[in-house]
Subunit: 119 residues, 2 copies
């Protein structure tokens, strides 16, 4: 069945969360939001494109930083209300220049930084 | 620094998305939502506990199905508005009895089912 981005379930702001995961290593890099046009653009260009809630604009990942996400696969969850983008991440995914946004662990009641910014 | 769940950034419904990832394999299993009490309960019990938006109630993952998620690590992202739970998933994470909710690929314009329900 041909895929139509408008069939996904978007929230009241017209957005759907998208998790980015590095192909091969399985590392979860970040989570950001897409609208239907960003989903369509991501599939068409294979350059992962989010919707920036703060800027209210398309956010072609890495367009200014060079830290692009090349789409390898896009997966939809069982409820069609969350996406998983399997990507090739160039450099850091996080705006703090860390590989992943999930660099803080809180498992034992303390916040522990798991990784340093890339140099 | 001691971790306080109330310091996370919640949406207008008081919820934060939480991605569940299998420890070791890196498989992304599902994404669901937590409120501050669910985060605290997850950390205290090491049994991943979401907030069910449809039932408006705590959802102790696997409580009825037996498909529990044992917490290995809980990570917070750079903006404190998304969580990543590293878990030991027993059986299927998805209500369709598949290991992961992300069993549909849409990469080449077609929806392709990547995995069958567990038997």
């Amino acid at each position: 069945m041909s895929f139509d981005p408008s069939t996904l379930t978007y929230d009241s702001n017209g957005l759907i969360p998208c998790i980015a995961q590095q192909d091969g290593t399985g590392e979860v890099l970040m989570m950001a939001w897409m609208n239907a046009d960003a989903v369509a653009q991501t599939l068409a260009t294979k350059r992962v494109t989010y919707w920036s809630r703060s800027r209210q604009a398309f956010w072609i990942k890495g367009e200014t930083s060079g830290n692009t996400q090349e789409l390898v696969d896009l997966r939809v969850d069982c409820d069609s209300d969350c996406l998983l983008a399997i990507v090739h991440q160039t450099g850091a995914a996080c705006h703090t220049n860390r590989r992943s946004c999930f660099y803080t662990s809180v498992i034992d009641g303390e916040e522990v930084e798991l990784m340093a910014p890339m140099t």
